[in-house]
């Protein structure tokens, strides 16, 4: 499949910045680690995790939209082709009928012109 038709790849949020920030803060307040500090850390971690999950969700939603648009387009085209096929079938039947009628005329027994000749 060409690259243009693929859905976009997922970009996983990087955690390097968060880790550096947390470790730096830990180093700064090394002597005062207590439950409140832990709460703050945990809160920050949870917030980052939620933000990352939301980012992934967003990418997933975008890809789902693209894929469903593609599916809808293909199905509309299928429907169009089905209708065109129906019409062509009707046309073929009528053309065969016309050809048969003309052949009958050529063969000499035509119901339309018996009164004239």
């Amino acid at each position: 499949m060409p690259r243009r038709e693929r859905l976009k790849d997922y970009r996983v949020p990087r955690t390097g910045g968060l880790r550096r920030r947390l470790l730096w803060r830990l180093r700064r307040m090394r002597h005062a680690v207590d439950v409140e500090t832990l709460e703050v850390f945990e809160h920050e971690l949870a917030a980052f995790e939620r933000a990352g999950v939301a980012d992934l969700e967003r990418q997933r939603t975008r890809n789902v939209a693209a894929a469903s648009a593609r599916v809808a387009e293909a199905q509309a085209r299928e429907e169009l082709i089905r209708r065109a096929l129906d019409r062509v079938e009707t046309g073929i039947r009528r053309a065969d009928l016309d050809a048969e009628r003309l052949d009958a005329k050529l063969a000499g027994h035509d119901p339309d012109f018996h009164t004239y000749a």
Binding site: V12, A67, D98, K105
Partner: protein, 295 residues
């Protein structure tokens, strides 16, 4: 780029063996125009022809009827002749109708000859009579002029004859061209059916391609779900790594081992409690559990 046969199907004639309605209308417009031209021309000519009577206004409707009849005949007779010949040629009518068509052509020629001769004769008469008889004081120069090729009335008569013959020939040619032979029509009908079949085959190919495209789009979606799950797992494992590093650093830095273990336990419990409700429900494929042995 090839033409898309679904959105823009090739033009095909809806009916075979018939003239298209537009051509039909155009043919009749042409015939009516010819009749109108002939009518105007003949109206002038007949007025001149009967000028001795028309100055008294004694020929009212009669002249109009005659004019209309002659112009109709001049245009219609070749048309009917052509149609008869075509039908005889196609075998629809028997060969005896050729005689009828020849008679019609002779009638047409006779009408034209009569009109021309009468026009020339009227010119000669008018010239020998010296103008309008009703006018008094006209110059009475009686010159017994006979037939002359260069007399204005003679020239006008032949010009009129040319116009009439042209209109008749046009109607003949139109009828001859629009009534195609039956054999050609049958061949066209078969070719038309064959072309329709080819078109249907190409449409079937297009349908297969469209189905393939739908399936590939659905497949793409399924693959995307898998990739999304992978991305989620990766992200959660990264977060786990961050937590683990943080806990390790805390454990290293902390003097008190009990407090450290308390901190580590607290971090881990937070994570385990929080993990399940962070994971959103995924579409049908099973979501990977990020909470387990990712550490």
């Amino acid at each position: 780029m090839a033409r898309d046969i679904v959105t823009r199907p090739p033009r095909m004639r809806p009916r075979v063996g018939h003239v298209s309605p537009l051509a039909h209308v155009l043919v009749y417009v042409l015939l009516v125009t010819m009749i109108a031209v002939d009518y105007i021309l003949l109206a002038q000519a007949l007025t001149l022809l009967l000028r001795n009577d028309s100055q008294y206004g004694s020929i009212g409707v009669q002249m109009y009827v005659i004019t209309l009849g002659i112009s109709l005949a001049v245009v219609t007779l070749p048309h009917v002749t052509a149609i008869l010949l075509r039908r005889v040629q196609a075998g629809v009518m028997s060969r005896r109708w050729i005689a009828v068509s020849i008679v019609l052509a002779l009638v047409w020629a006779a009408i034209l000859a009569a009109i021309t001769i009468a026009r020339i004769k009227a010119g000669i008469d008018a010239q020998s009579a010296g103008g309008l008889t009703g006018l008094v004081g006209g110059s009475q120069t009686v010159a017994p002029a006979g037939f002359s090729w260069t007399a204005p009335d003679t020239i006008m008569a032949f010009l009129m004859l040319g116009v009439l013959v042209t209109s008749g020939a046009i109607s003949f040619v139109v009828a001859w061209l629009t009534t195609r032979p039956l054999l050609t029509a049958a061949e066209k009908a078969h070719a038309h059916a064959a072309r329709l079949r080819v078109h249907r085959d190409r449409l079937l190919g297009e349908a297969v391609a469209a189905q393939e495209r739908t399936r590939s789009a659905l497949l793409l979606d399924a693959h995307d779900v898998v990739r999304y799950t992978g991305a989620r797992v990766t992200f959660h494992s990264r977060m786990d790594v961050v937590r683990a590093q943080l806990a390790t650093r805390l454990a290293q830095r902390e003097r008190d081992p009990e407090s450290t273990s308390q901190i580590i336990r607290e971090l881990r419990s937070h994570r385990i409690v929080e993990a399940p409700d962070v994971v959103p429900p995924l579409p049908p494929t099973a979501p990977a559990a990020p909470s387990g042995g990712a550490q």
